[in-house]
Subunit: 491 residues, 2 copies
């Protein structure tokens, strides 16, 4: 994209520019963002995404056309606020919710959705596998302002009675069509688990840990036939183009332990996902690629290099990765480490892992833990990649911290409620929102307090405090703080 | 070290080898491990450390002699089980405990110590700044099987009445001597905060965030004189050699925000710490170097490269680093990311950060959160560096996971109690410790269950389960599990 092209588009957009709206797209056989981007058209969704990202609309269009960015926005998901996933934009996070046959219900899933959205999840996947799956999904889609993804094979399995061997392409296409109509924005399709790859897992410690992957593997073994999702991939594309559903090409062969990381099975499938990406792009269908999983730190960079090379730079959507297997109960942390790193290296969407991973279905508090851990990872990645505007929030909260502006510090925190609760655990009185210290060091040992007058910011802040004190004689500070102020004067 | 040399030493050690014991060391003017290592002697402590690390005693000796490893072991800390800190050994973690003037007491500090030790902390620092500091410290040292470090300037400040300007070298040496006699294994000394470095912080957002650093800066500014710890560094060395106290050369100028990372003030001090390292080594005193703090991911590698180059490869002891400032309440996570990475790059000791950082004094549960997050970081670093034996635990727990051996999985977890509690939250009955699934996926959707017979390990495991069932007809499995077994037979 030339600079002049860029500014020409911008000019048009600020003046009389009219983006392609959804009604116009619906009059064509392909409503996908990629189709329109490739026609050189900027859609309403691209425009809104550009505003959110503070990027040029033309950059959004060209990245979507190139396949390096997706805007998962099913035309039937009317409550959606469009967002994008791609290396040119900020790193995003996904929260998995959904029940299992053993646990949870509609109300609890809605609570998980709301909590995830409130804390900043960018997309959500409904992985429900039990009860009335259609009901849960339609309720969630109606409520969700963020894209919602699914793994349609779960529902297909439920509908054929629970045996993977009984799955058929007909049952799958029927479920995919229904979910697309309901407004699902992206779907995980395990079309890369080829028959010939199944024997490659025989020396693994943890076999196949993707649920969809293991279903397809069992189907292939039982029928001695090729994966029907691979064989009928173009039929899925035909459905997707009517609703603009994006592919999340499933990594059915992802490693489930450090031992199995970066093995032949994993990379064989990744190569096939690259081939499927090209096939989807021929239909102008948007694609992202799912990635692992369980990867030691020294192999994380390799993951993204392989993905970019084999899958033509389609956005990479990784599950963590966890960097050690030994901490069940803390896999939001083991995986936030890997997620931050792979985000820095170039992954576009980080699928959260909650503390319950490997142990049970997450409850709403686990969702909170997972989302916050991943907001940290994604933001740290944005900062490390130098993405525009990312560091600003760090600088703002650091200023508030140095100025002992506790309220502002809480406001700027990823989870204000938790930050304030922790502060108030030892110093709950309102007075202590104004003091130059917390309970960690106490008044005498606060380093920032001691070093205030050594910096420009600190001097300015001291001046402001002094002025405030003169202006508002009624708003006297606490005794403890007065003691401190004497100390400051004594420097 | 040649291989033949290596095996010669090993042979000696397994046969009639007698290491230098503490009584022999006490008859000399310098009892430090480094002094004896440089005499070519292997001490009892080196031998025990070698056994713990599964390394050759001669390697331990040579690394200690070279200054790339320390064994912090004050001769008066009699309850100590010697350990080492250095790049040739496993990555270690430190837990900070201690009260502040606002919060905590002796009993609570002991609880924090015990919890930290139980969860695997390798060293502990008593950072008490309020109440009867001598009492807390002597109680903690008596109880602690791990090295205990302090920051003696805190007590010195308390004893001169709380004003940094009133600190003197006499007061400091008195406190250092007393703490050394009590058995403190390593001490943070902020001798690198030189007078001429203080103006370098003027454009920082968060000034000086090291408590000792800000005290020394204020002292220098008030007296217009050079840091007295720098001027009298050799006097400190004289005390240290009588007890074998190790230096933890304090990073008084570490950044307290991403904005201030890697700035001139930080690296100017680091260069001085390198100079002080050489001075300490002339006295055969062991040294490690403290490091930051707040560092974005893309600058973490630079930290260790600078430290190694400027400080002659003395072990690097970092505080995190946190990789973003925006998550107060979750800084055990923001910092575990940085800690894992810097551990992988070569840091030897990772000082934990708890969820309470920036908000208040940690309580015993915060200590748990911090220790576990850092055990994760250190272990992930060991795995990524390929340290001997590190990956074994990951492989064992992965096997247990694939075999649905829940009890073994809990046993091998970093925090067994939490892992089991989370599992039992949805499936508490004893039966469910034997089932081939958890509440995350339920029986029908467990991927590992579905892919068991695709791997050698899975087949072996199925055989064992079948045999067990034949042997023990009384121990019938639950109905749910029977349903599953039918499914497996149907493959």
């Amino acid at each position: 994209m030339s600079e002049s092209g860029n500014s020409r588009v911008s000019k048009k957009i600020t003046a009389e520019f009219k983006p392609v709206n959804i009604e116009e797209r619906k009059r064509h056989s392909n409503v996908s963002q990629m189709y329109w981007a490739r026609q050189g058209k900027i859609t309403e969704e691209m425009l809104r995404v550009a505003a959110r990202e503070e990027l040029e609309p033309e950059l959004i269009r060209s990245e979507v056309a190139r396949g390096r960015m997706i805007i998962p926005a099913n035309i039937n998901h009317t409550s959606l606020e469009p967002m994008c996933i791609g290396i040119a934009a900020k790193c995003k996070i996904n929260a998995n919710i959904g029940n299992s046959a053993v646990s949870s219900n509609v109300a609890e899933e809605c609570e998980k959705l709301n909590r995830a959205v409130r804390l900043g999840a960018d997309t959500v996947m409904d992985l429900s596998t039990g009860g009335d799956i259609d009901l849960i999904r339609t309720v969630l889609i109606k409520q969700s302002p963020i894209p919602l993804g699914t793994v349609p094979i779960y529902q297909a399995l439920q509908e054929v009675g629970g045996k993977p061997e009984d799955l058929t392409i007909k049952a799958m296409l029927e479920v995919i069509e229904r979910q697309a109509r309901q407004g699902v924005d992206y779907m995980t399709i395990h079309a890369g688990v080829l028959q010939e790859y199944v024997p490659l897992v025989r020396d693994r410690l943890t076999g196949i840990v993707s649920r969809g992957g293991s279903m397809m593997a069992r189907w292939c073994v039982a029928h001695k036939k090729q994966n029907f999702l691979y064989e009928h991939f173009d039929d899925i594309c035909e459905i997707f183009k009517h609703y603009d559903v994006s592919f999340s090409l499933g990594d059915g062969m992802r490693p489930g332990s450090l031992h199995d990381a970066s093995d032949e099975a994993q990379f064989a499938e990744l190569k096939t996902l690259g081939e499927l990406t090209s096939r989807a792009w021929k239909h102008d269908i948007q694609v992202m690629i799912e990635g692992p999983g369980h990867i030691p730190m020294d192999q994380i960079k390799l993951q993204i290099e392989k993905e970019m090379a084999l899958c033509h730079e389609a956005p990479f959507y990784t599950l963590g990765p966890v960097v050690t297997d030994i901490a069940p109960g803390y896999d939001h942390i083991t995986s936030a480490i890997g997620a931050a790193m792979i985000g820095w290296y170039g992954a576009s969407l980080l699928c959260y892992v909650t503390p319950k991973e490997h142990l049970g279905l997450p409850n709403p508090d686990d969702v909170r833990q997972g989302v916050v851990a991943y907001k940290i990872a994604a933001h740290a990645a944005d900062v490390a990649r130098g993405r525009k505007g990312a560091r600003q929030r760090d600088d703002e909260i650091s200023k508030a911290r140095f100025k002992f502006d506790w309220k502002r510090q809480f406001e700027l925190a990823l989870d204000p409620e938790t930050a304030q609760k922790m502060h108030d655990e030892t110093l709950p009185q309102a007075d202590f929102k104004e003091t130059n210290y917390c309970s960690m060091c106490g008044p005498q040992f606060c380093s920032m307090n001691m070093s205030q007058d050594l910096t420009h910011l600190g001097k300015e802040c001291q001046k402001q405090r002094a002025e405030k004190r003169c202006d508002e004689p009624g708003e006297k500070t606490s005794n403890i703080e007065k003691g401190e102020d004497d100390a400051v004067k004594n420097i």
